[in-house]
């Protein structure tokens, strides 16, 4: 295949920061499990006790998955980190493949490359190889690190292979999606939606009475390999078989379509702009509404699931006094359902921040891709242009949390309380939005560092307790300051502080935007 090698070199050059950052971030998350669990639960008895508590709790099993062997340290060490790592591995694979295939075609650079001596499917092959290479490297260093911390050898190898398998499936899925739509943004959107569905299927299968939904989910497959337990090599047939089938489909679709065209037909649109398209807010609405609808739907479903599970848990506990007593001692004054719901709300608060940050970063994309310029060359000022998108970050996140709180409340039975518990996350979300605006206004080239901040806060929240980090490190994350509702009493001062800091960051960013050069 002529040109594949040079395209791989080009891709590695363009990704020389992004890929190492992904790999390093996922690696750190993957190895934090063994590191922390061996310290915190050194004896077999402690591990067994913890594992039994977890496995008897459908909510925890829903979020993180089942522990298949309570006797083995490996199962426990990877129980909490594996699902999150797999999600990140899937995102890395999806974004990497899309960046070097569909995004290149969309920008027209693919045509330049196509004019050179490059085989027809070389760009697709190069992107797939780069993504698989990154996954392989990640799996290898993770395996080496696990072996270094004295984890069982065969379990570690199964774990590494499952890791790589998950990446391979989503690499292949991305290769298919890249053929379908004409825009990389919508292809990425479909990919993320598929990922979310596979996660929910796994959660449903693992925590419910029926296990078949797990078997519809590639993420479920990677856990059904059951490393560190009754290892099941035949599941790899399913994983790699599916990856190969998807790859074959991608190449078949690629051979049938023109460059820059999608396999899905595109329809003609309106010949004239509706009245909505009369202001910068109208434009922002057109650009952001699809995302907002999708996210709101997701949060409503998430709330429904969380509320229903919480109710199930309480009915299960009603018949088991011993378990209820145990959870009561573990969870302190709060009931178990309350601590479960507050955990869900704080996780979904971080997820809503992803929405808020990406809504603000839309401004940066509009700027660098040259679409801000024609708008700002009209009567629209920079302030109203910026605010039109920032409004989606601030109000849109409020819409998401409202949808979450209401549906969870309706399913569980106390809408007002749960609505409050969901909305209390907003100050931290707004702080992230404000931080993104500040970066965009003052250090535009570093705008996407907002993601790095979000990941750091996520790591602090997820692993801070496990790693027993110092309190001052925990305090860096705005999410640490949110009262744990429902259950705790509301303390207003951290909420007011977070909102005030968000407002300061927002103002600083907006001032910066009005003063700086617009980069085209």
């Amino acid at each position: 295949m002529s040109g594949t090698w040079s395209l791989i070199r080009l891709a590695l050059r363009r990704d020389r920061i992004a890929l190492p950052a992904w790999i390093l971030g996922i690696f750190v998350m993957a190895i934090s499990g063994p590191a922390s669990f061996q310290q915190l639960y050194p004896t077999q008895a402690e591990r067994t006790a913890l594992a039994q508590t977890i496995d008897g709790n459908p909510a925890m099993v829903g979020v993180y998955g089942r522990i298949y062997d309570v006797a083995d340290a490996g199962g426990l060490a990877t129980w909490k980190t594996a699902p999150l790592c797999l999600v990140l591995v899937a995102l890395m694979s999806l974004f990497t493949v899309m960046k070097h295939t569909r995004a290149e075609e969309e920008s027209g650079r693919r045509e330049l490359v196509g004019a050179g001596v490059v085989g027809r499917s070389a760009p697709l092959t190069a992107a797939i190889l780069v993504a698989l290479g990154a996954n392989l490297l990640l799996a290898v260093i993770t395996v080496l690190a696990f072996l270094g911390s004295k984890m069982p050898v065969d379990g570690t190898l199964y774990y590494g292979a499952a890791f790589f398998g998950g990446g391979a499936i989503f690499t292949a899925l991305a290769a298919v999606l890249a053929q379908l739509t004409e825009s990389a943004r919508s292809a990425n959107g479909i990919g993320v939606a598929v990922l979310a569905v596979t996660y929910v299927l796994r959660a449903a299968g693992d925590s419910g009475t029926q296990s078949w939904p797990t078997w519809l989910s590639p993420i479920g497959w990677t856990q059904q390999v059951r490393p560190f337990a009754d290892q099941r090599p035949w599941v790899f047939l399913l994983i790699f078989g599916a990856a190969l089938a998807l790859l074959a489909l991608a190449y078949a679709l690629a051979a049938r379509r023109d460059i820059a065209a999608g396999a899905l037909p595109t329809r003609l649109g309106a010949p004239e702009g509706s009245w909505v398209l009369s202001s910068s807010f109208g434009l922002a609405w057109r650009l952001q509404r699809g995302g907002l609808f999708g996210w709101t739907l997701g949060f409503a479903l998430g709330g429904l699931a969380a509320g229903t599970l919480a109710k199930d848990v309480s009915s299960m506990l009603a018949g088991n006094q011993q378990m209820a007593d145990l959870l009561h001692t573990l969870g302190g004054a709060r009931s178990f359902e309350e601590s479960y719901l507050s955990l869900m709300f704080s996780i979904l608060g971080i997820v809503a921040s992803v929405y808020a940050v990406s809504a603000v970063l839309r401004l940066r994309a509009e700027e660098t891709e040259g679409r801000a310029e024609p708008v700002l060359a009209t009567g629209v000022g920079r302030l109203s242009w910026s605010l039109s998108h920032i409004a989606f970050a601030l109000l849109g996140s409020a819409v998401l949390m409202t949808a979450l709180g209401l549906t969870a409340g309706l399913a569980y039975g106390s809408p007002a309380t749960l609505l409050g518990a969901a909305l209390v996350q907003l100050p931290a979300i707004w702080l992230l939005a404000g931080l993104t605006v500040a970066l965009f206004g003052l250090l535009p080239r570093l705008s996407s560092a907002a993601w790095a901040a979000l990941v750091v806060f996520l790591l602090i929240g997820e692993l801070g307790g496990l790693l027993k980090l110092d309190q001052w490190i925990m305090d860096i994350s705005p999410y640490s300051h949110i009262p744990k509702l429902p259950g705790e009493s509301v303390s207003w001062s951290p909420l007011i502080w977070l909102t005030a800091i968000a407002a300061v960051l927002l103002t600083a960013g907006l001032t910066g935007i009005r003063r700086r050069d617009l980069t085209a």
Partner: protein
């Protein structure tokens, strides 16, 4: 005569790279002004400063009697801009973009819009991502030309258009000029501006190197002369304005600065002229002379 754009001593650096290095530009109201320079000369940067998208490091810039950095909203309702590299929103149709930009500017002339869509042979129902480069350019051109603004800032507007559409574009600019509106038309292709522009400014490496009417600039060009004389020409090489002189017996070839033709022709006629051919000046040569310095 009033002035639509006046720029003097404009400087702009991006980090260590100087994009504009003391640029001067004056565009009179009602004229079509050619803004010429090779790629990277600073045309787009100048236009972005005029639009208040970039902040000038030094120099004075006046646009329609306002300050382009401060009076953004009021000035922008009076002008329309076509970027050099048009990108559209992937899921908005061409028609939606045209209406949006028109309304943000304060209104579109619907009748003219329909007529322009027809003339440019543009389907307004297609989504932004499905347009070719030339069609994206057409969307931006229709959006700009359909509005009743005083000033059009066009940055290499014909890049990507086929010759037929370039012709349509030229007609449109001529109409705009007849309506008394002002146009700043940047280009790196001389033939494009030669037929359209009243005056041109040529810039190179962020500085204005020539400016004036087409007639003024023709004075700066050289006429090629080939002559058969009655005797051997003497002393021609010492005359001012004579370049590349090549004498073989009584045959002579040279290039003469167009504004120095009279003394050279009288020197030739003193010797006696048997035959004479002259080649009229083209701006291409003038332009190439500035480019050559660039290349060397």
């Amino acid at each position: 005569m009033t002035v639509a754009i006046s720029v003097s001593g404009l400087r702009k650096a991006f980090g260590p790279a100087t994009a504009l290095d003391g640029l001067d530009l004056t565009v009179n109201t009602g004229e079509v002004h050619g803004f010429l320079g090779p790629n990277g000369a600073g045309k787009s940067t100048t236009i972005r400063v005029l639009l208040g998208l970039l902040r000038a490091d030094a120099g004075t810039v006046r646009l329609l009697d306002g300050d382009p950095w401060r009076d953004v909203a009021t000035l922008h309702r009076r002008l329309a801009y076509v970027p050099g590299d048009v990108t559209l929103w992937p899921n908005l149709t061409g028609g939606e973009v045209i209406d949006l930009l028109g309304r943000l500017r304060g209104g579109t002339n619907t009748k003219r819009k329909a007529e322009l869509l027809e003339r440019f042979d543009l389907d307004p129902r297609k989504k932004g991502r499905t347009y070719s480069k030339g069609n994206r350019q057409k969307v931006a051109l229709v959006a700009a030309l359909a509005s009743d603004v005083e000033l059009l800032l066009l940055d290499e507007p014909t890049s990507g258009l086929d010759p037929l559409m370039e012709e349509v574009f030229s007609e449109c600019v001529k109409e705009v000029r007849q309506q008394g509106r002002t146009v700043l038309l940047s280009s790196h292709i001389l033939s494009e501006v030669e037929s359209l522009c009243d005056r041109v400014s040529i810039i190179r490496k962020g500085r204005t190197v020539e400016t004036g009417s087409m007639a003024d600039l023709r004075h700066l060009t050289r006429t090629s002369i080939t002559a058969e004389l009655s005797g051997a020409p003497n002393g021609l090489s010492t005359l001012a304005g004579v370049h590349n002189l090549d004498v073989q017996g009584t045959r002579l070839r040279c290039e003469v600065d167009t504004d120095k033709l009279t003394p050279v022709l009288s020197a030739l006629s003193t010797v006696g002229v048997r035959s004479l051919t002259s080649q009229p000046p083209t701006l291409e040569e003038l332009f190439l002379r500035h480019y050559e310095d660039d290349l060397s």
